[in-house]
Symmetry: C2
Subunit: 373 residues, 2 copies
């Protein structure tokens, strides 16, 4: 029997969110199972969202003690019906991570002592029971930190490129491009000769991406942003965009800039616009509020949601495997994640650190290391 701490998120019937560390006892692994000592797990926005649910984080307060920290927050009454099924049920948190196999069933013997990456959920824990088939052995010399995030961001980036090819586009526009994911996309596009327009919000981010080799970086805070975007898109021929901001006018601005770039300057006024397909995918919701489309882009346009899980579901097994293999092959180069902060499980529940994550700036990235507890 292996015992360890596990981060749990609970919503009570009286509308309180409770985040705590709970001791968990893991059974001996079945024949096809292993127990992994978690050594590294990224704290992604999606993990934060699953941790907090619809709780009002302005009501965040500390409980428990430094050894057994607890965070509480109030869930607005109006949001309770949407979480009815999880009320009273403590939930494990943590999408992906890596660690060392410390126990193995008899069919999983070969994994014993091996460093592996996995994503069974509940990675914010000291130990995790998993199917051997769900563990991806890391290459020789790779640390758990190197392998902690081989799924979500790398496969998302490769999924963007696959989607581009499948739908017949030849260049991309990416917003919030200075993010960890954005830098990864830049590296992939440079390696694969895919023209990429990077949209950022600060001069320092322009510098950062240029330093990484980016040719086209436009700053949405510049007064000439829309004209700059048209020029960059015209130079790249990009007709597909990916936007993690979601709310506001950015997705529509991408489409309008694509249409403007496709319209010859001496073109007759075209009532219905060009017939060249233009497409933007929204893959996050960094900006709250509605998506606003001014529809200055004719009729040959599409905008939609993009989710890694849905992409994987409609992709054949061979393609999925080749994407995952590429991530392993380029683990410490193209797909290297740089973390700005490594925290223990207890520190995740430190209100200052919790709020720092919540207010995270582009490029900041937290890694949870449960061996520090």
């Amino acid at each position: 029997m292996t015992t360890g701490l596990e981060l749990k998120s609970l919503i009570t019937a009286d509308g309180i969110l409770r985040l705590s560390l709970e001791p968990s006892e893991l059974p001996d692994p079945a024949a096809d199972e292993v127990i992994v000592r978690i050594e590294a797990a990224p704290l992604n926005p999606t993990d934060h969202y699953q941790m907090t649910g619809p709780a009002d984080l302005s009501t965040l307060r500390q409980d428990g003690n430094s050894d057994s920290p607890v965070l509480l927050a109030t869930v607005p009454q109006a949001a309770m019906p949407f979480v009815a099924r999880r009320v009273g049920q403590p939930r494990p948190i943590g999408t992906e991570g890596a660690g060392t196999v410390v126990a193995a069933g008899r069919e999983a013997d070969h994994l014993m002592g091996q460093r592996v990456a996995l994503r069974p959920g509940g990675m914010f824990a000291q130990y995790r029971l998993a199917k051997a088939a769900d563990c991806v052995p890391l290459p020789e010399g790779a640390s758990s930190a190197d392998g902690a995030a081989i799924f979500v961001n790398p496969l998302t980036v490769l999924g963007f490129v696959e989607t581009m090819k499948t739908e017949g586009h030849t260049g991309l526009v990416h917003a919030a491009a200075a993010s960890n994911l954005g830098q990864m996309l830049l590296k992939v596009c440079l390696a694969d000769n895919i023209p990429l327009v990077n949209i950022v919000r600060k001069p320092s981010q322009v510098e950062l991406l240029r330093g990484l080799g980016a040719t086209h970086v436009v700053n949405s805070a510049d007064p000439d942003f829309e004209a700059d975007l048209v020029r960059a898109i015209a130079e790249t021929g990009a007709t597909m965009g990916f936007d993690p901001t979601g709310g506001g006018r950015l997705a529509g601005q991408m489409l309008a800039a694509m249409e403007a770039a496709l319209t010859p300057p001496d073109a007759e006024h075209m009532v219905y616009g060009t017939d060249v397909p233009k497409r933007v995918y929204i893959y996050g919701g960094l900006e709250g509020g509605p998506t606003v489309l001014d529809r200055r882009f004719g009729f040959a346009w599409d905008i939609g949601g993009w989710l890694l899980f849905n992409f994987m579901k409609r992709t054949d097994a061979a393609t999925r495997a080749s994407l995952q293999q590429r991530v392993l092959d380029e683990l410490t180069t193209t797909f290297a994640s740089s973390y700005t902060r490594v925290v223990s499980l207890r520190q995740v529940l430190d209100p200052d650190i919790f709020r720092a994550f919540q207010a995270r700036a582009t490029g900041e990235k937290f890694l949870v290391d449960p061996t520090l507890d």
Copy 2:
């Protein structure tokens, strides 16, 4: 030499829109050409838009005289760059229509005296030169009014159904469903057993569509509209919508209702929504202003532009021919257009009639008959 009047739209270099009737002289038809005496041409919103361009219609004023009427309006200075190429060039107007062949080249002899439908543009005229190959002979007994609108609305409606099938959906939602086009879609869906949710804006329109056999009609002016829409969509399984309004929240409400209908009432809160593809096409801009999406529909959604011309371009010739044949086969039943007003070319330029069209209500439809001039 055949001579006749033709409606022309001219934007002058000093920013004046001028609509007038001009005499035109038609040459004798070449071997593969015919001259058609136009007897019926629908006045579609698209024709109105091409007539007026970006002119400010609050400045509409009369000129000329009752025999040779002229309408003038001011084009805002800011809009002039967009129409640079049409400045100084009088444009013919009128997308589609029907009439009788009154002259034919030697290879088009068989069409002489035949009633035909055609869409070479410039149908707001007494006579029109056309390629014989572009003329569709009307069935025995069909009048020119019957055949005046066999292209735009019928092919749009059949294009919706084709698009639905191609993209793997099995039911439709349609907004502004009491329109001429909406009634046509209802008839096609009833004939083909396609579940259809009709969205209208008035109780009288609910009655109208129920009278035509509609099962699901919801009124967007009702306080329970959103709940009614979810219920109707749940009953039909519709996951594709067509929206001619464009501006405002309606397209997003369709997607949200589809997602709600797909989500079991006892479902756990799903962070990323269902993975069932939901799609809305915007095919017009009856409502000005931006499209606003509240994104309460997960990540498996798409919204885009739909244009008959683009649909036809990506559809194979056999399918196009079979759609056109169906329109002819059901010309006076499924695809019958009812016109609320028949006007002469001169009457199109009567300010009162012009404004009445501009302010047109759902279900109103104008037919131009140049033989009245």
